[in-house]
Structure formats: C-alpha cells, structure tokens
C-alpha cells in the first residue's frame, strides 16, 4: 500500500454541494491513492452519488477544490472529466438500446470517412481491439437491447476505459447483478487494479466492501465520517458509521409466528406469462400465503418479480394458471374486484404506479377509499371536509412530514410519498397485501417505519407477499423465503432453514440438493 509515500492521485478538499436549501455535501475531504480500490459507503441519501457526479463532471461543486495529480481542476462537463482521465460507470446505464456495442462506445466521437460519414468499419475494429485488450467477452456488432445486464455493464465499463481513464468510478455496480456476475465484476476490478488503474466504488452492501477494497470511506448525511483500511475492519463497524448507531433488527410478533392460521388467503398456481416471442416472464409459479404470514420473494430485479406482483394485482393479464383470493377465482377479475375482495398493493415504483404526483395528498390518500370512509355525501358529491379530515388523520398517524391535504403529493420527499401510499393501501385492513421493494430510495428512518407497518399488518392477520431485491430486508421480515429466477419460483424455504448463502445460490438458479 502506498499510503503516505507517493503523492495521492486525487484529493478533494472542502467540497460543498447544495440543492435548493438541502445540503447534499458538507465540506467533504477525500484522498485517493494511486492504484487503490477505494470504496465510498453510505446509506441512501448520504451523498455518495452526488460526490461521484461532481468528480465525473456531471455536477459542479458550490465550493471546494478538486486536485488531480497535484493540479487543481474543474470540469465543465462529463467530456472534460473524461479527457482528464476520470471515467464513470453509472448505476442506470447510459446506453442507446437500438445501437450496437461499437456504436455506443464511439457515440459522439465516431471516426470519419470522407469527412462527413461515420466510419463503421473503423468503429467495429477499434471496438474489437478494446474488448480484446481487457478480455471482455463482447460482440462489437451486438445491439445493446439484446445484451444481458452484466454484459451491458461491461460495455459501460469499456466506455469509461476507452478514454484511457486513470480513475474509474463505479456507482452501485452490483445492484443489478446475480451473485456469479458479482464475482466476475470483482475479478474485472482486480484485473484493472493490476493494470494500474485506480478504482472508486460506491456501494452500500457491506460484504462487497470487505471483498473488494483497499480502503473504505463512509459518508453520512453529506459528511465524511471515516476513512480506514479495509483489512481488519468489521462489517458491524462500517454499519455503525453508516447509520450512526447500532442497527436494531425489527422484532417479529411472536403470536402468529409458528401458526399458519386458517386456509391460505392467496393461492397462485401454475401462473404463466409470456412475451410475444414466447419467452416466459412467469413460468408455472405456485405460491400460497396464509393469514398472518409474510412470504418473502428474493431475487435480482428483472427475474419476473414485477410481472408477478402486477399479475396478482390484476394489472397485467396472464396466459395460464390461476389466482385465488379467499377461495374465489380471481384470474380474470378486474383490479377493482380484487380490491373489493380484500387485496391491497404497494407497487415498487411509487411515482409510476403508486401516486399521481399532480393530484393532492388528500386525493391520493382517498383514492379507492371513498366508500369505505364514507366520503361521499348526498347527490353523490364528495364531502371535501371529510376527505381533508381523513388526510389529516393519516398525516398524523404516519408522521408524514411537510404534508397538507391540499398539497400536490409530488412535492413530498420519497419516504413521505411512500407513507401516503401505505396509508391508502392499509386503510382497508386488507386480507392480502402485495408489497414490492418497499424501502427503495428511502433513508434508514423511513425504512424502519415501513418495516414496522408491514409487520403490524401481518400481526393483524394479513397475508403478506413481500418482494425485495434486498436480502437483508427479506431476512428481517419473512416467515418463508422463496427465490425468483428467470420467471420461476424456486424452492420455498422456512426462514429457519434458509441462510444468505443458500438463498444466494438459488438467486443464481442452482437447485438445492435433497437435504
């Protein structure tokens, strides 16, 4: 380790960034040594992405210095950062699906033929050379739309390297990878390090921090809390820095834990959904959920979880199989009918499915609850005073910060918006609840609150189907754990019988051998 001996490659001093009056970065200092793998760690909203976006030239700091190789620099745009040798691989890939690998690599810098045409042969050849240099396995003529997530990520990495980047920044690179793909990526990182590249890596997954890095910096609420060598550092210590206190796992109500009270409320059998080309989005999915139990479905995003939740909610039709709710066949019923029978749905994207950002908090909370809460008066007109009172009641009950009934719901923060969705969906004390990615994009406090609500619902006898790509969340809440892989629901395990290792294997598609 070259700590202290050679001059650091990159130094950040006193970087400040504000968005309106919210302070995203509060005088952050950072030192990155040549050739090291340095992890930036922190909870959602800690400032990690903002800091990296400043380094990559996407954002400009309000004050502070960036010193690259002893020279103070300022980047006007991402192109300038690239030219200075800083390449960023984003969490949400910035690739053009209809174009090929080569075309994406050379976007906005195509080699020319006859001055005004793009030289496709040169692009193809250069791309192939770049791919070979790093031993990636990619076809330069393949269209991005046809590549797997892991492959697309490698194209992104190549894009960053293509500018001969000295520093490579990876933003949550493992968020969308299966465990073997994660291993591959860690291998790629090691290989890059061996070639003398410096790597900055954002993640909030503690195991990866330990596996891949030389040093780890923890950010919390926009401030740098610590920077320490990874060797000898425990996960608990990192977590403590990230959260500021010891984490308390939520307690599952003992009363219903070991009982499966009553017949299954939600029964899904043989459910299948196909694309036009015949690919199975859902492949003979069977699951039963009993009152008071939480069944957690783990799996990497994109293996059919979205389709499953939307199929059960009635928003997308299925091509085979059946869905039964409280014994009644719901396979072709409308979403309205399913709600009437006691189904509630907290969707994975609150702004996409869960809320109408321009409508008021009162209207969002009251949607589908008008009859239940007797908000309709004589002549079929809404009693707006009653609707506002209902909204105020929920604002108090769920501690929705900054909320007034007449405020458009889109003006709330992510966590508070999620609370509005939960308030609405829980109001009817559902018999069955589908909840997908409930704490995505939420800070720790909001996440804890949401978990408590889900547990409370189960304690009241609700049958809960929890879908999450965060294993920790599944293990904290679920009674039984299943894994979705390529549209199939693999093995359903009792929580006692499951470990993160076995579930991780299943997420890769491996079948467990008979015990």
């Amino acid at each position: 380790m070259s700590e202290g001996s050679a001059a650091p490659l990159l130094q950040l001093r006193g970087v400040v960034k504000k968005f309106d009056d919210k302070v995203a970065l509060d005088r952050v200092d950072l030192i990155v040594e040549r050739g090291e793998v340095h992890v930036i760690c922190g909870e959602n909203g800690a400032g990690k992405s903002t800091l990296m976006n400043i380094l990559a030239g996407i954002l400009k700091p309000d004050s502070g210095e960036i010193i690259l190789d002893g020279v103070p620099v300022g980047f006007a745009d991402p192109l300038a950062a690239s030219r200075a040798g800083i390449g960023m691989v984003h969490q949400h890939f910035k690739l053009i699906p209809s174009m090929t690998v080569a075309e994406n690599l050379y976007l906005n810098r195509q080699p020319r033929r006859w001055g005004f045409l793009a030289d496709r042969d040169a692009m193809r050849k250069d791309a192939a050379a770049l791919i070979a240099r790093y031993h990636f396995d990619l076809d330069p003529d393949a269209r991005i739309a046809r590549l797997s997530v892991g492959q697309r990520q490698r194209v992104e990495i190549l894009k960053a390297l293509g500018f001969d980047a000295r520093i490579l920044i990876l933003d949550e690179p493992t968020a969308v990878l299966t465990p073997p793909e994660v291993e591959e990526l860690l291998g790629v990182i090691a290989g890059l390090k061996a070639r003398g590249r410096t790597i900055l890596f954002i993640t909030h997954k503690l195991r990866e921090v330990k596996a891949a890095s030389d040093r780890v910096t923890v950010l919390r609420h926009g401030r740098r809390i610590s920077t320490r060598p990874t060797a000898g550092l425990s996960e608990a210590a990192i977590a403590r820095d990230m959260v500021g206190r010891d984490m308390r796992p939520p307690k599952r109500g003992e009363a219903l834990r070991d009982q499966r009270r009553g017949a299954a409320v939600l029964q899904v059998s043989g459910l299948a959904m196909t694309t036009a080309a015949g690919r199975r989005l859902l492949d003979r999915v069977d699951i039963e959920i009993h009152p008071g139990e939480i069944v957690g479905i783990a799996g990497v995003d994109g293996n059919g979880q979205t389709e499953l939740s939307e199929a059960i909610a009635g928003l997308v039709p299925v091509q085979a199989g059946s869905i039964r709710l409280a014994g009644a066949d719901m396979t072709r019923a409308s979403p309205q009918r399913r709600r009437a029978l006691g189904l509630s749905f907290i969707p994975e994207d609150r702004l996409d499915r869960g809320l109408s950002a321009t409508m008021t908090i009162a209207e969002n909370a009251a949607a589908s609850n008008y009859r239940l809460k007797r908000l309709i008066g004589p002549a079929g007109l809404i009693r707006s005073a009653a609707r506002d009172a209902f909204a105020l009641e929920k604002i108090g009950q769920y501690d929705i910060r900054g909320a007034k009934p007449a405020l458009p719901v889109g003006q709330l923060s992510g966590g508070n918006m999620q609370k509005v969705v939960i308030a609405r969906e829980m109001e009817k004390e559902p018999a069955a609840l589908i909840v997908a990615q409930p704490t995505r994009g939420l800070d720790v406090g909001a996440a804890e609150f949401v978990h408590a609500q889900i547990l409370a619902a189960a304690d009241r006898g609700c049958a809960v189907l929890l879908i999450s790509s965060e294993l920790a969340e599944i293990f904290a809440l679920a009674d039984r754990i299943a894994v979705m892989f390529r549209g199939r629901l693999l093995k359903v395990l009792d929580r006692a019988a499951a470990s993160e290792e076995t579930v991780g294997l299943l997420m890769n598609g491996a079948e467990l051998e008979a015990a």
């Binding site: 890939f93 910035k94 690739l95 053009i96 196909t274 036009a276 015949g278 039709p317 085979a320």
Partner: protein, 305 residues
Amino acid sequence: MQASQFLASVLDQTTPILLAALAAMITTRANILNVAVEGMMLVAAFVAIAVGEATNDVALAFSCAVLAAILMSLLFGFVAIVFQADFIVAGLGLNILAAGGTLFVLEEFYQDPGGLRPDHFPDIWHVPSGSLDWAPVIGPAIERQSFIVLLALALAPLSALLLYRTPLGYSLRAVGEDEQAARAVGIHVVRMKLFAVAASGLLAGLAGAQLAMDRLHFFLPDMTAGRGFIGLAATLFGGGLPWATTGAAFLFGFFGALGDRLQLLQAPSQLVLMAPYLAATLGLVVARWRAAARNRPAPIASAET
C-alpha cells in the same frame, strides 16, 4: 400513357406529403412530436408567392420561402425546447400563428382576404418535356415535374443516410432514444433538438414552396389543407423509419390521386377530397392494429401444466 399519367398524378399528390412526412420524421427521431409542419408549410407557400410577385425572381422567392419556414420552425423550437412549452400546444399555436399571420398580411397589405393571385408569376424549373421518353412509364411521369419533386425523391434515401451513417444522425437518434445517455457522452441535447426542428423547417419549406410555386402560382388561406398532418400520420405509420415513412406517404398520395380519378367519374368532389384523410386515418389504425398483434403474448398450449 394512362399509367404514366396516373403515376404523374401520384407524384404530384405525394410530394408535399412526403416532404412533410420527412420533416415530421426527423423531429420524431429526436423525440419531438411535430404538429407545426402545417404552419411552416403555409408560411413558406405565402412567402413564395409574395416574394415572387414582388421581385419576379424565382430563385429568390424559393429561397425566401424556405428561409421563412426555417425561421418559423426555430421560433417553435425555441419556445418548446428552450422555454419548455408543451410541444403540442406550441405546435398548434404556431399553426394558428401561421394561419392568422398570413391572413392578417393578406388583409392589411394586399386588401384581399381571399388570397394572393399575382397576374404574372415566374416558373420554377421543371424536367423538360420529352427528355425522358426513353424510360417506359416512369419517364413520362417524371417529365414536367418540378425540381422540388426530384429533390423530394432524393431526400428519402438521403435522410436514411443522414440518420444512420453520419455522426450527426447518430447523435440525433441518441437524443431521441435516451437524453441522459446522450448528455453523458457530451452531446448537446438542446442544440440537437433545435437542429432537428430547423431541418424539419427546411423540409416543410420545400413542401410549401412546391404547393404554391409548381402549378398553382397563387396563395389561398388554408391551401395546405391538412397535408402537414397527413405527413405526420405517415411518419407515425412508418414508425419513424425512413423507408416505411416514404412508403406511407406514397400510399396516401396514391389514394389522393385515385380520388382525383374518381372525380372524373362524377363522384362528388367532397368525397374525393376526403380520400387522403380517410387513407391516413385508416393507415394509422392498421399500423397500430398490426403492432398490437405483433406484441400479443404467445399463448400457452393447454397440454403443458
């Protein structure tokens, strides 16, 4: 002889629609729904006649017409892109401005709200009669077509070349498909979109000039008669792809020419005039229907569990 006469009629009807369709296509590839093509065409037609009457200089009239359309398009572009107005409302506004503005100028400066009909008007270049006698059917059809028609026919493959083989085309398509990705590689999104809008202005200007300067030599309010929207329909029908869009434009032009023939058979004129609009509507419906059928999930054989 009959066939080449009909083909000539098809070319006649198709050209303004094709140019409007290509105009709409360029902006569609940049993810802009351009409903303002109609207004840009109208302004070009007016300027062509006005300048042509005043100066008797056909080249000047043509250039001014195209320039006017480009300026209108940039007005629309700035308001919608830089000032982030709603594209459709701003586009409709531009059309209203074009219609109202031309009418205003007619009333204020020419004292004739009915139109502008100059006594003399210079002629644009047409393919000389008899020069293409050697080509069967197609030759006589192209004879006496204006140079704008030839330009339009060339622009169809040229636009494909621009979109798929030039760096500009790549950047434009990138902006249309994923703005964030384009920005991440340093493409100026606003500049690209403005370029697309200006290019559509150029093409709309050609269409307007063709309408007014080819055979008519006069300007009537509303002379574009919805061709800008039919062109838009052609682009939507063709999914924004150059060859499909060109095909759709020809299809709608074909029905227009067919309608003309029917008029000779004593069909009521209004029915005949309706043909392109009906064709465009039905074309859109068919295109969407086939897309829906293509995207239908594959059924599962009941024998499988």
